[in-house]
C-alpha cells in the first residue's frame, strides 16, 4: 500500500496553526464569547461545590452560595463508609458496564455507519429508515415489552442487561455515518482498492483512522450517556450490589420522600465524585481533538 496519511502535527507551519492569523479584535471577541458561555455553564455548579462541604443540618438552612461549617472530609468519609462502602461498588460497576458497553458500541456502530456511508447495497435505504424511525418511538412505550424480552433472554439482574443492549445504538450509527461522509473521501478508497487492498483492510487501515475524531466523539457521548443513565439499571437490575452509581444516588435522593432519613448530603458529594471518571476520560481523549487530518497528495 503506497497511500500515506499525512497527519498534521502541532509543529506545523505557523499559518496552519488555527487562529494564528486572527486580528486582535477577533481574538478578543472569541475570548469574550467563550468566557460568557463558560460562566453560564460553570456558575451553577458553585452551589454543588458549596453544598458538598456542608453537613446535613446546614444544607437547607444556610445560604446555598456560601460556606457554613466545613464538613467536606466528614462527608467523604460517610460517602465511602455508608452501607459498608457500597458507593465504591456502584462506581466500579458503572466503570465496567460503561467501558464494556461503550467500547462494543463504538466498534459495532462505527463499522455500521461506515458501511452505510461508503457502500451502495440493497436494503440500505430501508436500514436508514429503520434507524431514523427508531429515534421517533417514545421509550415509555417499550418498557414492558423490553422487560419481557430480557426476561426470556435471562438477562434480568445480570450486567448483560445493561451492557449488551447498549451495543446497538441507532443514534451512534447515524452519527458515524455523518462523520464518515464528512471525513472519508471516496477517491481515497478507490485509490486503495486500485492498490489491491481488501474492503476490511481498507476499513481498519484508512476508514477507522480517518474517523478517529468521530469515533472518539461517539465513544465519549456513549460513555457519558451510559454513565448517567439510570432507567435501564432501575428496571433491569435487582441486587443492590449490581447497581450503577446513578441508580444508587437516585435512590439516596428519594429516600427522604417517605422516611425520616435524608441523604441529600451524600448525593451531593457522591455526584461530584461520580464526575471524576468522566472528566478523566475527557482529559485523556484530548489528543483526539486536534484539528482535522490533512489529506496530503490527494487534494
Amino acid at each position: 500500500m503506497t497511500m500515506t496519511l499525512d497527519r498534521r502535527t502541532v509543529t506545523g507551519s505557523a499559518s496552519r496553526q488555527p487562529g494564528a492569523s486572527h486580528s486582535k479584535r477577533t481574538k478578543a471577541t472569541v475570548l469574550f464569547g467563550l468566557i460568557a458561555f463558560t460562566v453560564y455553564s460553570v456558575a451553577p455548579v458553585w452551589w454543588l461545590i458549596v453544598a458538598a462541604t456542608k453537613g446535613q443540618s446546614d444544607l437547607y438552612t444556610t445560604n446555598g452560595l456560601w460556606f457554613a461549617e466545613f464538613r467536606l472530609l466528614d462527608n467523604f468519609r460517610e460517602l465511602f463508609t455508608y452501607q459498608d462502602g457500597i458507593f465504591l461498588t456502584w462506581m466500579w460497576n458503572t466503570v465496567v458496564y460503561s467501558l464494556a458497553g461503550t467500547a462494543g458500541m463504538t466498534l459495532i456502530c462505527v463499522a455500521c455507519g461506515y458501511g452505510l456511508a461508503m457502500y451502495r447495497f440493497r436494503g440500505r435505504g430501508v436500514m436508514m429508515g429503520c434507524i431514523i424511525g427508531s429515534f421517533l418511538v417514545p421509550h415509555a412505550l417499550l418498557t414492558i415489552p423490553s422487560f419481557l424480552l430480557y426476561t426470556d433472554l435471562r438477562m434480568i439482574d445480570t450486567p448483560w442487561a445493561i451492557i449488551v443492549p447498549s451495543f446497538f445504538s441507532a443514534f451512534s450509527v447515524y452519527l458515524a455515518k455523518v462523520y464518515a461522509e464528512g471525513a472519508i473521501p471516496h477517491e481515497l478508497l478507490e485509490a486503495a482498492r486500485i492498490d489491491g487492498a481488501g474492503e476490511y483492510r481498507i476499513f481498519f487501515a484508512i476508514g477507522a483512522r480517518l474517523m478517529s475524531t468521530g469515533a472518539a466523539t461517539i465513544f465519549l457521548l456513549g460513555f457519558v450517556g451510559s454513565w448517567n443513565s439510570f432507567f435501564g439499571p432501575l428496571v433491569y437490575l435487582r441486587s443492590q450490589d449490581r447497581w450503577t452509581v446513578m441508580l444508587g444516588l437516585y435512590s439516596w435522593l428519594k429516600i427522604k420522600m417517605d422516611s425520616s432519613t435524608d441523604l441529600t448530603g451524600l448525593v451531593v458529594v457522591g455526584s461530584i465524585v461520580s464526575l471524576i471518571p468522566m472528566v478523566a476520560l475527557m482529559v485523556s481523549m484530548q489528543r483526539y481533538w486536534r484539528s482535522g487530518v490533512t489529506l496530503g497528495s490527494l487534494k
Binding site: Q56, A205, M257
Partner: protein, 441 residues
C-alpha cells in the same frame, strides 16, 4: 491482518452471546417440598431496616427464609412489579405498598390472600382500623401494616407571641389563621401538588368517596362528610390563611417552616425525625397537640388510613408469604429489630393494638423542648381514636392524578372545592363505566 481482526471481533461477539445464553440460566426455583421456602420481599426502605428485619426473621424461622431486595424508590418499585407480574417470572411474594390496594388490585397486580390471611384476624394481633387498608371489595390483597397516628405540631412560641390559644377545632384553627394573618404568618401549608389534606379531612369526618353496594360502586364526592371537609379547605384558601410551599423545593420548605412564618403542621410519627434533623432556629419551639376536630363531632376522632404489605399476583408461596408478613407487622421481635442505634428510633408499629412500649422512641429529643413529654399522650390518644371509613375503587390511581390537577386549581383559587368535587364525581363515574365496571352516582 484486517481479516484476522474482524475474525477476532466476530468470535468475541459470538462468545458474548454464548455466555449470555449461559448466564443467569438457572431455572427459577420451583416450589419445593422439602427445605425452607424463600420469600422475596421488595422494599425501598433504607438497607439497615431491611437487613435487621431479615436477619431477625431468619434467626427465628426454620421453614421460611426471608430475602430482601432493595428497590430504588416508589415509582421504581411500581415499574418493576408491573414488569415482573407481566413476565410471570421471579415475582416477589411481598412488596412494600406503593399505592392504594384497590387501585393495584384493579390493575391486576395483586393476589387474593383472604383465605390465607383471615385466620390471623381472629387472633387479636391487629388494631381494628388497620384492616381496611389491605382490602379491596371486601377481599384481602395484602397483609395490613397499619397506620401512622395523626396529630398536629404547632410552633408554640409564635402562637404565644401573638396571644393565640392552640386550636382544638378546625374552626378555631381558621380563626387563629385570621389572627395570624395580621402579623404576616400563615397558619398552615397546603402544597399545590398534594391533595392529601382534603382526603384526610374527609376521612376524619367519617366520609368516603366510594362505597360497594352489591356488585356496584356507589360514588359520592358530595356526601355531607365530604362537603364538611371541603368547607374547611375552602375557608383556609379563600381567606388567604395558608402558604403554598412545594415539597420539591426542600431548602425553601425547611427554611420556611423553620422561620416561624408557618406555624401548624398536621403530621405523623415518621416525619418527626426529619424535622429534628433539619430545623435549627425553631428547635424546641414546637408543641405536639391533638388533631383539631370538627365542631359537631360527637367523639374525638383522628383520621387513619392503613397500608399493607402487598402480595403480588404470581407469588408461588402465598401461605408462607402471609405468615412472614404477619410476623413483620405484628411481632415484638420485628419491631425490636427495626431499632436504629444512630437515631435511637424504632419503625412505627402501626398495626398492633398497643404501641405504647415504643412510643417514647418515636419522639425526637430537641424538637419539642420542655414539652417533649406531652408527645407520648398525644400520639397514643391519636392511635386510640383512629377510624378508617375510607374505601377506594379500582380506578383510584388515575382518579388521584385528576384530583391533583383539581387541587392545584383549588389552592390557586381558580375553582372552589365544591366545583372540584363535582368534577371529580363525574370524572370518576365516567371512568369506571368506560372500563366496564358497574358504577352509579
Amino acid at each position: 491482518m484486517a481479516r484476522k481482526q474482524l475474525k477476532v471481533a466476530a468470535v468475541t461477539l459470538l462468545a458474548t452471546s454464548v455466555t449470555l445464553a449461559g448466564c443467569g440460566g438457572e431455572q427459577p426455583a420451583a416450589p419445593q417440598n422439602k427445605g425452607p421456602v424463600t420469600i422475596t420481599w421488595w422494599s425501598w426502605d433504607e438497607h439497615k431496616f431491611l437487613d435487621s428485619t431479615v436477619e431477625k426473621f431468619n434467626a427465628t424461622h426454620d421453614h421460611i427464609k426471608l430475602k430482601a431486595v432493595k428497590q430504588a424508590d416508589l415509582p421504581g418499585t411500581a415499574a418493576n412489579l408491573r414488569n415482573a407480574v407481566a413476565a410471570k417470572q421471579d415475582v416477589p411474594c411481598l412488596v412494600k405498598n406503593f399505592g392504594e390496594v384497590p387501585g393495584l388490585a384493579g390493575e391486576g397486580l395483586l393476589e387474593d390472600v383472604t383465605e390465607e390471611f383471615e385466620p390471623y384476624t381472629k387472633k387479636g394481633l391487629y388494631n381494628e382500623p388497620s384492616y381496611a387498608g389491605a382490602q379491596a371489595g371486601g377481599r384481602y390483597y395484602g397483609v395490613p401494616s397499619g397506620f401512622n397516628p395523626s396529630f398536629m405540631i404547632i410552633n408554640r412560641a409564635v402562637y404565644d407571641k401573638y396571644g393565640i390559644a392552640p386550636p382544638k377545632t378546625w374552626d378555631e384553627l381558621i380563626a387563629a389563621g385570621k389572627e395570624l394573618k395580621k402579623h404576616g404568618v400563615y397558619v398552615m401549608n397546603l402544597a399545590g401538588e398534594d391533595p392529601s389534606t382534603l382526603v384526610n379531612l374527609t376521612q376524619q369526618a367519617g366520609g368516603t368517596w366510594y362505597k360497594v353496594e352489591g356488585d356496584t360502586w356507589k360514588v359520592d364526592f358530595l356526601s355531607p362528610e365530604s362537603l364538611k371537609a371541603a368547607e374547611v379547605v375552602q375557608q383556609l384558601v379563600e381567606n388567604d390563611l395558608v402558604a403554598n410551599q412545594t415539597y420539591q423545593d426542600r431548602p425553601a420548605l425547611i427554611a420556611y417552616f423553620d422561620s416561624g412564618k408557618m406555624v401548624s403542621l398536621p403530621t405523623s410519627t415518621w416525619q418527626l425525625g426529619n424535622y429534628e434533623l433539619n430545623y435549627k432556629k425553631s428547635l424546641g419551639d414546637w408543641q405536639p397537640i391533638d388533631l383539631p376536630q370538627f365542631v359537631d363531632a360527637p367523639t374525638f376522632v383522628t383520621n387513619a388510613h392503613g397500608s399493607a404489605i402487598l402480595v403480588p399476583k404470581g407469588c408461588q408461596n402465598v401461605k408462607e408469604a402471609v405468615e412472614a408478613a404477619v410476623w413483620m407487622t405484628t411481632s415484638k421481635e420485628a419491631v425490636d429489630a427495626s431499632y436504629q442505634e444512630d437515631t435511637k428510633q424504632y419503625a412505627w408499629p402501626g398495626a398492633i393494638p398497643d404501641p405504647s412500649p415504643w412510643v417514647d422512641s418515636a419522639v425526637p429529643a430537641k424538637l419539642f423542648g420542655e414539652r417533649r413529654a406531652e408527645a407520648k399522650d398525644v400520639i397514643l390518644k391519636a392511635v386510640k381514636s383512629a377510624r378508617d371509613p375510607w374505601v377506594v375503587g379500582p380506578n383510584y390511581t388515575g382518579v388521584f392524578t385528576e384530583l391533583q390537577d383539581q387541587w392545584a386549581q383549588i389552592v390557586t383559587k381558580k375553582i372552589t372545592v365544591r366545583e372540584a368535587l363535582e368534577h371529580m364525581q363525574k370524572f370518576t363515574v365516567d371512568d369506571l363505566k368506560a372500563k366496564n365496571i358497574n358504577a352509579q352516582g
